[in-house]
Amino acid sequence: MTVLTTAPRKLALAPPRSRRRGAAWLKRLPLLPAMVFTIVVTQIPFVLTLWYSFQRYNLNYPNRPRQFPTVANYRAVFSDPVFRTAALNTLEFTAVPVIASVLLGLGIAILLNRRVFGRGLLRTLIISPFLVMSAAAALIWKYSILDTTFGVLNYVLRPFGVHDANWIGVHSQLTIITFLTWQWTPFMVLIILAGLQSQNEEILEAARVDGAGPWRIFRALTLPHLRMYLELGILLGSIYIVQAFDSIYLITQGGPATDTTNLPYYIYQVAFQAYDIGRASAMSVVVVVGTILIATLALRTISSIFSDDTLSRG
């Protein structure tokens, strides 16, 4: 008879081999519906995309020979300077808004964690950017807020000496980054606020009684506690922000020139303006592979989400 191990989830008894195999399948059973559903609905389109990526398929010329299999699309992708620009822009438009929204979210969450007048109302107001439909918000920003002549922003800034600034045309990257940060800060606020609220009050109070200043408490107690929340926010935020499309499609049209063209928008141009399905599919596959590589690197080295610590429960 085996002894209880320290990992509380392992069964106390070690049953014979056949029963263990049966038990293993029983463990997997609840997972199966979700797995099967996901595989069917996501992998079939992905396989089709993969298949298209090895053909020359243009919707405008449906009768041209497909030349399957060919790597012409992949060669085109890797020798395409605009693809490179789009990749760099995507990195920029993901990293900066994620970092900015986490930092802003941290600050706002700290402010909202205090006892402030109307805190409930403030918390509801702060999440509104996250709840509004992205395309609608983008159109309002483009025509009502940032417009050079008719926009509210220039109107408000006029007494400060700003005259008819062309935010979208001249400061295009700043515009996109600001819009994305505006959209996703509320999401970070919620996550970090949850973390702040779940701190153990007694430990904090004890530290205060011991004479530790607020900054010291924050650095030594709060930040380590918040690490998990920050990582979750960064992970989820990145997954969504890397696919940012509405703002670029509606506000800057990828321009001026290719200054704000990111990968989703570029793929859209190839698929729906050039109608080159083969090349668009190849680009999508390259993007998937690249994202998986980066995510694997991040999750298994920097992040602690995948470490075994997460499994131990007292």
Partner: protein, 461 residues
């Protein structure tokens, strides 16, 4: 978490379930008259029509029930409205991938040739020939030519436009300026210089700068054409860096930067309409349909708008040509019903019906000669109607510029690839207008883009 809190949360479960059930029940109980299935029921057919977002399209949506469905009880019409770019992409996806989602689609003249060649839309000569009251020869000749390929008409025009110059008479009078009867671009530049008044927030001229092959390139291409430039020569050599083209683009970009509205890189028709209507621009070069808004009641400058032909340089006329037209998808399963609708929507009867409901000033312009011969229309829209007709009729879609070109088209290149490389070039132009790069940089990049695109597509032998 303690067991007592478990008990508390237990309460939430039935509430959540009840709320969900209520929502689903409400949703299915709400009857929606517009969500009927598109299959026939008891002899009635439903046709799906894709249109672009535009006030004229909104009008026909409003009028279809009374004007068409009432007299065709077995046909129901469902409209799907998207903005221009989304509509074009969605319709092409449907015809190319044989989705069968639409019966009638609204397209422009640039798609006619390639779609006809691919067999995606049906030729209409026979069916309009059989409709005695349609009077296909009433259609304006250049519009009809733009919608035809190899002698076969492929789409019926819903409305048509060219471009011309509009100017604010009050500002002109105050500055002591006169608009010539047939202005040249040089004269316009001089007028703009004089009328430009930054301290009073008045721009000399409002011009399109927004990225979009149908936005800034529409205006720019007419300037290129009339100044002797071109996109391609007859052998598909790109001519964007030729001296004439470069001079034309330099002219346009400098005019906008010096005497145009601020932030022009974000402006297209709507923005210039606002600016011009508010008296913040002395001139506005854009689509002829703009006239029916700025000179109508409700506009702050109604009655004070003057009109002049599209400015020229080396050619006799330079207006662009565009029409939104209804085409019949070859894969449609309701061809007869669709044809009946298309014929009605583009007929004299519809125009008269629209006029009876909304007045003559608001009828779809630029499609039929009979509209312009109508006395009521002349009374309501006289100030700009004749000039519009003149511009449309003087367009030579095969050679709008000085030199021959490989395919017909005034402000666009009539090949499917243009949507993509045109868009990219347009983004370069916006960058030049916004001061992010020089015109020669923009044109050099554009030249490479355009040449590569036609080479890859196999046009250049």
């Amino acid at each position: 978490m303690s067991l007592t809190s478990t008990a508390r949360h237990h309460r939430g479960w039935p509430t959540a379930a009840a709320a969900t059930a209520l929502l689903v029940a409400t949703a299915s109980a709400c009857s929606n008259p517009n969500s009927s299935s598109s299959s026939s029921s008891g002899g009635a057919q439903t046709i799906t029509v894709a249109v672009t977002a535009n006030p004229l399209m909104t009008t026909i949506e409003n009028l279809t029930a009374g004007g068409f469905e009432a007299s065709h009880p077995n046909i129901k019409v469902k409209f799907v409205t998207y903005d221009e770019n989304t509509e074009r992409a969605d319709v092409e996806k449907d015809v190319a991938a044989h989705g069968g989602q639409y019966d009638v689609v609204m397209i422009g003249p640039n798609d006619i040739t390639s779609w006809a060649n691919n067999g995606w839309i049906d030729g209409l000569n026979t069916e309009v020939g059989q409709d005695a009251s349609y009077d296909v020869n009433d259609l304006l000749p250049s519009i009809k030519a733009a919608l035809s390929s190899k002698g076969q008409l492929y789409a019926l025009p819903f409305y048509g436009e060219s471009s011309f110059m509009m100017y604010n008479k009050k500002i002109f009078a105050a500055d002591g300026l006169t608009m010539p009867a047939n202005p040249t671009w040089a004269q316009i530049a001089a007028l703009a210089a004089k009328a430009n008044n930054t301290s009073k927030n008045v721009a000399g001229i409002c011009l399109r700068g927004l990225t979009g092959w149908g936005d800034n390139l529409a205006s720019l291409d007419t300037v290129i054409n009339t100044m002797g430039g071109a996109w391609f020569d007859k052998n598909w050599n790109a001519k964007l860096t030729s001296p004439a083209t470069e001079a034309a683009v330099n002219f346009y970009v400098n005019l906008v930067k010096q005497y145009g509205e601020p932030g022009a890189g974000n402006d297209s028709f709507n923005q210039c309409l606002n600016i011009f209507e508010q008296g913040q621009a002395a001139m506005w070069y854009d689509a002829t349909v703009g006239a029916s808004t700025v000179d109508a009641s409700g506009s702050p400058i109604a009655g004070n708008v003057g009109f002049a032909p599209a400015p020229v340089d080396l050619t006799k006329s330079s207006g662009w040509l565009w029409t939104w037209a209804l085409a019949l998808e070859s894969s449609s399963k309701h061809q007869s019903a669709a044809e009946q609708f298309m014929n009605w929507a583009t007929s004299k009867q519809y125009i008269a019906y629209d006029a009876s409901k909304n007045g003559w000033a608001a009828v779809p312009p630029g499609t039929r000669t009979s509209t312009y011969q109508n006395a009521e229309y002349q009374k309501a829209a006289g100030a700009f109607a004749n000039l519009t007709l003149q511009e449309i009729n003087s367009v030579n879609i095969n050679q709008p510029g000085v030199a021959p070109q490989p395919v017909p088209g005034v402000q666009y290149v009539g090949i499917p690839e243009f949507e993509n490389f045109g868009q990219q070039v347009s983004a370069q132009i916006t960058a030049a207008i916004d001061g992010q790069e020089s015109v020669s940089q923009a044109l050099n990049t554009s030249q490479t883009i355009a040449q590569q695109a036609v080479n890859n597509a196999g046009y250049k032998s």
